[in-house]
């Protein structure tokens, strides 16, 4: 199901059918945060709200820990897991920075100076 070629691109998640299967309930939970009453219930008691969903315990822990890398590794789609950051009032840049282990300030400075250079980050096999 996963085109092999994507696996040669380092540090990159392509949201394939396989990931969609694994993250089905996680992404449904994230989508529920589109409604203001649900956001309020989640804020009031995160654990109780998470327990309404048939997600794995590891997925729930990743939500509680705001571990976005773990969320994507367990089937989260970036645009869905960003709903959790929106609840926290946390900018997308700060989430993006967390993937590369950078502080938000370091990341913002990198973006202002032209972004992350793709040289050396195109291919694990070295084909590109």
């Amino acid at each position: 199901m996963t085109p092999q070629a994507f696996q040669d691109i380092p540090g990159t998640y392509v949201f394939t059918g396989e990931r969609a299967i694994e993250g089905r309930q996680l992404n449904r939970f994230c989508m529920s945060l589109m409604s203001a009453p649900n956001r309020a219930r989640f804020r009031a008691d995160e654990r109780a709200y998470l327990d309404e969903w048939t997600m794995t315990e590891a997925q729930k822990q990743a939500v509680v820990n705001r571990d976005f890398r773990a969320l994507l590794e367990q089937g989260g789609n970036i645009f869905f897991v960003l709903k959790i950051a929106a609840v926290d009032g946390r900018p997308t840049q700060s989430v993006a920075a967390s993937f590369a282990g950078q502080s938000t300030e370091e990341y913002a400075a990198m973006m202002r100076s032209g972004g992350r250079n793709p040289a050396g980050l195109k291919s694990i096999s070295g084909r590109f």
Binding site: P10, T12, T16, I78, F80, A96, M111, G114, R116, L121
Partner: protein
Amino acid sequence: MARISAGIGSSHVPAIGAALDGGRTAHPDWAPIFSGYEWTRKWVAEHPPDVVILVYNDHASAFSLDVVPTFALGCADSFAPADEGWGPRRVPVVPGHSRLAWHIATSVVLDEFDLTIMNEMKVDHGLTVPLSLVFGQPAEWPVKVIPLAVNVIQYPTPTANRCFRLGEAIARAVRSFPEDLDVQVWGTGGMSHQLAGERAGLINREWDTRFLDQLTADPEALRTMSHEEYIREAGSEGMELIMWLTMRGALGPKARELRRFYHVPASNTAVGHLVLSPEA
């Protein structure tokens, strides 16, 4: 008869909308971007379209992963801004053009492009940020909009060539609409960017520049480019650029570049912008 008068390519970075809505257009991070669109604001005011067919992608706003249409055409009379997790953008409701939209739906489906018909749809920053960049902050949008939402967030996404050919089919549909309408096609998204993973923050200026060159002069290479190459070179969200191919396809074999703007960064993203006119 209706005619396609121009094509516009534009990024749709949500932070641009937030900067505008929050009154931060003069901030050094944002001022270069808004001034980069000034030429276009003036040009569009001088060449006002009746209708914009706006090719964009939804970002988990109108569509959850319960239903994933590859191409969804907005046939409603109006489209309300979506709540993207922090309340809807305070921008006017987007007026639709139901009769032209249904004509396009009928024409392209009979032309073997099986798209999804949306009679009710909320629209997110993917659609409203380009409108804001070109029209500013009016009390009402000065144009009717036909949204065309393309799936680029759940693989499999359509091929670049399929997007291009849909643009060609849309042009055939517009030309056969009996009313005298000036129609622009906008392709949005991109340019190079990646939000997640260790490559987050990737910007490929060299590749973006080549994309902007080729889109006008020689779109053939971009049509046949693989998803792998789009993602490898322009980042996982750079895949959005396939939507610019629909705009280009709608303009016909030859197009002329009237305006180009490129800037790094807007938040996580390289901003690209083109105004193209079809050439006989």
